[in-house]
Protein backbone atom coordinates (compact mmCIF):
# COMPACT_ATOMS: atom_id res chain seq x y z
CA UNK A 1 0.00 0.00 0.00
CA UNK A 2 1.35 3.41 -0.94
CA UNK A 3 0.96 5.93 1.85
CA UNK A 4 -0.39 9.31 0.82
CA UNK A 5 2.24 12.03 0.95
CA UNK A 6 1.76 14.71 3.57
CA UNK A 7 2.99 18.29 3.41
CA UNK A 8 6.36 17.35 4.89
CA UNK A 9 6.93 14.64 2.28
CA UNK A 10 5.97 17.04 -0.48
CA UNK A 11 8.33 19.72 0.87
CA UNK A 12 11.23 17.27 1.18
CA UNK A 13 10.49 15.89 -2.28
CA UNK A 14 10.55 19.40 -3.73
CA UNK A 15 13.86 20.19 -1.97
CA UNK A 16 15.29 16.89 -3.19
CA UNK A 17 14.59 17.85 -6.79
CA UNK A 18 15.69 21.44 -6.29
CA UNK A 19 19.07 20.43 -4.85
CA UNK A 20 19.92 17.86 -7.55
CA UNK A 21 22.04 20.43 -9.40
CA UNK A 22 24.38 20.93 -6.43
CA UNK A 23 27.98 20.21 -7.27
CA UNK A 24 31.46 20.72 -5.86
CA UNK A 25 33.26 24.00 -6.45
CA UNK A 26 35.94 24.17 -9.14
CA UNK A 27 39.19 22.43 -8.24
CA UNK A 28 37.67 20.19 -5.58
CA UNK A 29 39.20 16.98 -7.00
CA UNK A 30 42.65 18.60 -7.10
CA UNK A 31 42.28 19.78 -3.49
CA UNK A 32 41.39 16.26 -2.37
CA UNK A 33 44.35 14.75 -4.23
CA UNK A 34 46.67 17.41 -2.75
CA UNK A 35 45.44 16.39 0.73
CA UNK A 36 46.20 12.76 -0.15
CA UNK A 37 49.68 13.72 -1.38
CA UNK A 38 50.32 15.65 1.83
CA UNK A 39 49.38 12.50 3.68
CA UNK A 40 51.92 10.48 1.72
CA UNK A 41 54.89 12.76 2.57
CA UNK A 42 54.89 11.69 6.24
CA UNK A 43 54.59 8.11 4.99
CA UNK A 44 57.85 8.59 3.09
CA UNK A 45 59.39 10.25 6.15
CA UNK A 46 58.28 7.37 8.33
CA UNK A 47 59.78 4.94 5.83
CA UNK A 48 63.14 6.70 5.89
CA UNK A 49 63.07 6.85 9.69
CA UNK A 50 62.28 3.14 9.93
CA UNK A 51 65.04 2.35 7.42
CA UNK A 52 67.51 4.45 9.43
CA UNK A 53 66.55 2.68 12.66
CA UNK A 54 66.99 -0.70 10.97
CA UNK A 55 70.46 0.33 9.76
CA UNK A 56 71.39 1.44 13.30
CA UNK A 57 70.25 -1.89 14.77
CA UNK A 58 72.20 -3.85 12.14
CA UNK A 59 75.28 -1.68 12.76
CA UNK A 60 75.03 -2.19 16.54
CA UNK A 61 74.66 -5.96 16.14
CA UNK A 62 77.60 -6.01 13.73
CA UNK A 63 79.71 -4.10 16.25
CA UNK A 64 78.81 -6.56 19.02
CA UNK A 65 79.55 -9.53 16.74
CA UNK A 66 82.88 -8.02 15.67
CA UNK A 67 83.84 -7.46 19.33
CA UNK A 68 82.97 -11.05 20.23
CA UNK A 69 84.90 -12.41 17.26
CA UNK A 70 87.84 -10.14 18.14
CA UNK A 71 87.91 -11.31 21.76
CA UNK A 72 87.66 -14.97 20.72
CA UNK A 73 90.47 -14.68 18.20
CA UNK A 74 92.57 -12.85 20.77
CA UNK A 75 92.01 -15.70 23.24
CA UNK A 76 92.74 -18.32 20.59
CA UNK A 77 95.96 -16.55 19.70
CA UNK A 78 96.99 -16.32 23.35
CA UNK A 79 96.20 -20.00 23.91
CA UNK A 80 98.17 -20.92 20.79
CA UNK A 81 101.13 -18.88 21.95
CA UNK A 82 100.87 -20.38 25.42
CA UNK A 83 100.69 -23.95 24.13
CA UNK A 84 103.52 -23.31 21.72
CA UNK A 85 105.56 -21.81 24.49
CA UNK A 86 104.80 -24.87 26.62
CA UNK A 87 105.79 -27.26 23.85
CA UNK A 88 108.98 -25.36 23.20
CA UNK A 89 109.64 -25.43 26.87
CA UNK A 90 108.98 -29.17 26.92
CA UNK A 91 111.22 -29.78 23.91
CA UNK A 92 113.86 -27.57 25.30
Amino acid sequence: MIEPKDDLDLELSRLQGATEALHATRGFTDRVLAAIDALRVPEWGDGILKFGKAILVVAALSAVAATVVGIRSQRAETETLASTYGMEDFDW
Binding site: H23, T25, R26, A35
Partner: protein
Protein backbone atom coordinates in the same frame (compact mmCIF):
# COMPACT_ATOMS: atom_id res chain seq x y z
CA UNK B 1 31.94 -0.19 -11.29
CA UNK B 2 34.65 -2.79 -11.93
CA UNK B 3 37.08 0.05 -12.68
CA UNK B 4 36.70 1.21 -9.06
CA UNK B 5 37.58 -2.25 -7.76
CA UNK B 6 40.59 -2.14 -10.08
CA UNK B 7 41.51 1.30 -8.68
CA UNK B 8 41.37 -0.13 -5.15
CA UNK B 9 43.75 -2.94 -6.17
CA UNK B 10 46.14 -0.39 -7.73
CA UNK B 11 46.17 1.70 -4.53
CA UNK B 12 46.86 -1.36 -2.38
CA UNK B 13 49.80 -2.20 -4.66
CA UNK B 14 51.21 1.31 -4.10
CA UNK B 15 49.80 3.40 -6.96
CA UNK B 16 48.28 6.34 -5.02
CA UNK B 17 47.39 8.15 -8.25
CA UNK B 18 44.65 5.57 -8.89
CA UNK B 19 42.68 7.30 -6.12
CA UNK B 20 41.80 10.04 -8.66
CA UNK B 21 39.54 7.56 -10.48
CA UNK B 22 37.60 6.96 -7.25
CA UNK B 23 37.27 10.69 -6.52
CA UNK B 24 36.15 11.54 -10.07
CA UNK B 25 33.55 8.74 -10.10
CA UNK B 26 32.10 9.22 -6.63
CA UNK B 27 32.53 12.88 -5.62
CA UNK B 28 29.44 14.37 -7.38
CA UNK B 29 27.03 12.20 -5.39
CA UNK B 30 29.04 12.36 -2.15
CA UNK B 31 29.37 16.16 -2.22
CA UNK B 32 25.61 16.48 -2.84
CA UNK B 33 24.88 14.11 0.06
CA UNK B 34 27.24 15.92 2.44
CA UNK B 35 25.95 19.34 1.37
CA UNK B 36 22.39 18.23 2.09
CA UNK B 37 23.32 16.94 5.55
CA UNK B 38 25.56 19.89 6.43
CA UNK B 39 23.44 22.60 4.83
CA UNK B 40 26.15 24.13 2.64
CA UNK B 41 28.33 23.05 -0.28
CA UNK B 42 31.48 24.35 1.43
CA UNK B 43 30.88 22.34 4.61
CA UNK B 44 29.93 19.38 2.44
CA UNK B 45 33.24 19.61 0.58
CA UNK B 46 35.17 19.75 3.88
CA UNK B 47 33.37 16.62 5.06
CA UNK B 48 33.91 14.73 1.80
CA UNK B 49 37.60 15.68 1.70
CA UNK B 50 38.08 14.40 5.24
CA UNK B 51 36.15 11.24 4.34
CA UNK B 52 38.36 10.66 1.27
CA UNK B 53 41.50 10.99 3.41
CA UNK B 54 40.11 8.37 5.81
CA UNK B 55 39.14 6.15 2.89
CA UNK B 56 42.56 6.44 1.23
CA UNK B 57 44.31 5.49 4.49
CA UNK B 58 42.03 2.48 4.93
CA UNK B 59 42.50 1.28 1.36
CA UNK B 60 46.28 1.80 1.37
CA UNK B 61 46.56 -0.05 4.70
CA UNK B 62 44.45 -2.93 3.33
CA UNK B 63 41.61 -2.23 5.79
CA UNK B 64 38.93 -2.02 3.07
CA UNK B 65 37.89 -5.67 2.83
CA UNK B 66 35.45 -5.22 -0.07
CA UNK B 67 32.56 -6.86 1.79
CA UNK B 68 30.36 -3.86 0.99
CA UNK B 69 30.45 -1.99 -2.32
CA UNK B 70 32.97 0.85 -2.44
CA UNK B 71 30.20 3.41 -3.00
CA UNK B 72 28.20 2.18 0.02
CA UNK B 73 31.35 2.19 2.14
CA UNK B 74 32.16 5.78 1.08
CA UNK B 75 28.54 6.80 1.76
CA UNK B 76 28.97 5.43 5.27
CA UNK B 77 32.24 7.32 5.88
CA UNK B 78 30.79 10.59 4.54
CA UNK B 79 27.61 10.29 6.61
CA UNK B 80 29.46 9.54 9.83
CA UNK B 81 32.03 12.28 9.18
CA UNK B 82 29.15 14.72 8.61
CA UNK B 83 27.43 13.66 11.85
CA UNK B 84 30.73 14.12 13.74
CA UNK B 85 31.20 17.57 12.17
CA UNK B 86 27.67 18.60 13.14
CA UNK B 87 28.22 17.36 16.70
CA UNK B 88 31.55 19.13 17.09
CA UNK B 89 30.22 22.34 15.53
CA UNK B 90 33.10 22.58 13.06
CA UNK B 91 31.20 24.37 10.33
CA UNK B 92 32.23 27.33 8.25
CA UNK B 93 30.44 30.65 8.70
CA UNK B 94 27.48 30.83 6.32
CA UNK B 95 28.03 32.75 3.07
CA UNK B 96 25.45 35.29 4.21
CA UNK B 97 27.60 36.04 7.28
CA UNK B 98 31.25 36.57 6.48
CA UNK B 99 32.24 34.71 3.35
CA UNK B 100 31.73 36.11 -0.15
CA UNK B 101 29.17 34.35 -2.35
CA UNK B 102 30.67 31.46 -4.34
CA UNK B 103 31.67 32.20 -7.90
CA UNK B 104 28.80 32.17 -10.41
CA UNK B 105 28.45 28.60 -11.63
CA UNK B 106 25.18 28.72 -13.51
CA UNK B 107 21.55 29.45 -12.83
CA UNK B 108 20.70 25.83 -11.97
CA UNK B 109 23.47 25.64 -9.38
CA UNK B 110 22.46 29.01 -7.93
CA UNK B 111 18.86 27.86 -7.58
CA UNK B 112 20.09 24.64 -5.99
CA UNK B 113 22.02 26.67 -3.42
CA UNK B 114 18.89 28.62 -2.57
CA UNK B 115 16.99 25.34 -2.13
CA UNK B 116 19.86 24.04 0.03
CA UNK B 117 19.41 27.01 2.37
CA UNK B 118 15.72 26.16 2.61
CA UNK B 119 16.61 22.57 3.47
CA UNK B 120 19.12 23.79 6.06
CA UNK B 121 16.47 26.05 7.64
CA UNK B 122 13.98 23.18 7.73
CA UNK B 123 16.40 20.72 9.36
CA UNK B 124 18.34 23.13 11.54
CA UNK B 125 16.85 22.08 14.89
CA UNK B 126 17.20 18.33 14.40
CA UNK B 127 19.96 16.43 16.22
CA UNK B 128 22.73 15.29 13.81
CA UNK B 129 21.72 11.60 13.66
CA UNK B 130 18.05 12.42 12.95
CA UNK B 131 19.08 15.00 10.40
CA UNK B 132 21.28 12.47 8.58
CA UNK B 133 18.56 9.81 8.72
CA UNK B 134 15.87 12.06 7.23
CA UNK B 135 18.22 13.26 4.47
CA UNK B 136 19.16 9.68 3.59
CA UNK B 137 15.51 8.58 3.59
CA UNK B 138 13.49 11.47 2.22
CA UNK B 139 16.07 13.29 0.11
CA UNK B 140 18.48 10.56 -1.02
CA UNK B 141 15.66 8.01 -1.31
CA UNK B 142 17.39 5.13 0.52
CA UNK B 143 15.54 2.32 2.31
CA UNK B 144 15.62 1.88 6.09
CA UNK B 145 17.82 -1.21 5.59
CA UNK B 146 20.34 0.76 3.52
CA UNK B 147 20.34 3.59 6.06
CA UNK B 148 20.88 1.08 8.87
CA UNK B 149 23.94 -0.28 7.06
CA UNK B 150 25.30 3.20 6.41
CA UNK B 151 24.72 4.41 9.98
CA UNK B 152 25.91 1.10 11.43
CA UNK B 153 22.74 0.54 13.43
CA UNK B 154 19.51 -1.50 13.32
CA UNK B 155 16.54 -0.81 11.08
CA UNK B 156 14.47 -0.27 14.23
CA UNK B 157 16.82 2.45 15.41
CA UNK B 158 16.61 4.11 11.98
CA UNK B 159 12.81 3.99 12.04
CA UNK B 160 12.85 5.52 15.52
CA UNK B 161 15.09 8.37 14.37
CA UNK B 162 12.86 8.98 11.35
CA UNK B 163 9.69 9.07 13.45
CA UNK B 164 11.27 11.51 15.90
CA UNK B 165 12.62 13.68 13.10
CA UNK B 166 9.27 13.80 11.30
CA UNK B 167 7.43 14.60 14.53
CA UNK B 168 9.83 17.46 15.26
CA UNK B 169 9.59 18.81 11.71
CA UNK B 170 5.76 18.68 11.72
CA UNK B 171 5.70 20.43 15.09
CA UNK B 172 8.02 23.08 13.70
CA UNK B 173 5.79 23.60 10.67
CA UNK B 174 2.71 23.91 12.92
CA UNK B 175 4.49 26.53 15.03
CA UNK B 176 5.40 28.50 11.89
CA UNK B 177 1.83 28.41 10.49
Amino acid sequence: MEHLAEAVREIVSGDAKAFRKIVVATSPRLVRLAARIMGSVEDGEDVVQEAYVKAYRAIADGRFDGRSRLETWLYRIVTNTAIDALRSGTRRPRSTDTLPEPAWDGAAAAEARVALRELETLLTELPPDQRAAIVLKSVEGLSAAEIAEIMDTSEGAVEQRLVRARTALKQRNRNHD
